[in-house]
């Protein structure tokens, strides 16, 4: 079972990654994919995501390994953007292939909850009045707590 983890510093088209990822796993029962985009409905003009190389990618690799151990997967793909993004640009993609749908869906859910609130990214939004640093929403912490059993 292979995991692939990438940080990208330029815009990407999710299908360019999901189609070959799916094709690489013949015999799969299902593939679940989540793509998060920069929301454009709240006055956000741009979003910048910073990472710290010695922690961010190793942290994502540990997350992918934990998901691979916890769920019955055939493959797991985790891609995260860094840098400055415009509303509508993809910021994160998680895709999981499995023999049965439950593993694929739960692995995507698990990875997203951890990426959203427990990963080494720092985010700021540009609004009409300048740049603002963002901290996780309370909902993200509540989502994460679902997995602590």
């Amino acid at each position: 079972m292979a995991t692939t983890v990438m940080l990208l510093d330029a815009p990407f088209v999710p299908g360019r990654f999901v189609e070959p990822f799916t094709a690489d796993h013949p015999g799969l029962g299902g593939v679940c994919t989540f793509v998060g985009e920069v929301r454009g409905d709240t006055g956000v003009e741009a979003l910048e995501l910073l990472h710290y190389a010695p922690l961010t990618l190793p942290g994502m690799e540990q997350l992918a390994a934990a998901a691979a151990e916890r769920f019955d997967l055939m493959g797991l793909l985790v891609i995260h953007r860094v840098g400055v993004m415009q509303p509508g640009e993809p910021i994160v993609l998680v895709s999981a292939c499995a023999r049965h749908r439950r593993g694929a869906i739960d692995a995507v859910d698990y990875c997203m909850d951890h990426l959203k609130s427990n990963s080494w990214f720092w985010k700021r939004e540009q609004r009409g009045d300048g740049w603002h640093w963002i901290e996780p929403r309370d909902q993200d912490h509540a989502d994460l707590a679902r997995w602590q059993v």
Binding site: P54, S117, W120, F121, W133
Partner: protein
Amino acid sequence: MAVTLVFIGKLADLAGEGERQVPGPLHWADLPSLLDADLAAAVAGERTRVAVNGELLADKTALAAQDGDEVAFLPPVSGG
């Protein structure tokens, strides 16, 4: 050779730069004399983590870096 201090996010705003070189060795008690008061207070804040060469310190006041080390000051993550 020196110790490289890395400031992330809000802390880089306070430092006015993302990185700074200081002479080693560097201990926690040296920071107030090296950093402006605002930055030193933010670094000491309970939600700021410290990593040396990519390894998080469980107790940041145990900081002890040598020339060639990279010390990163990490504010609370905002998530992906």
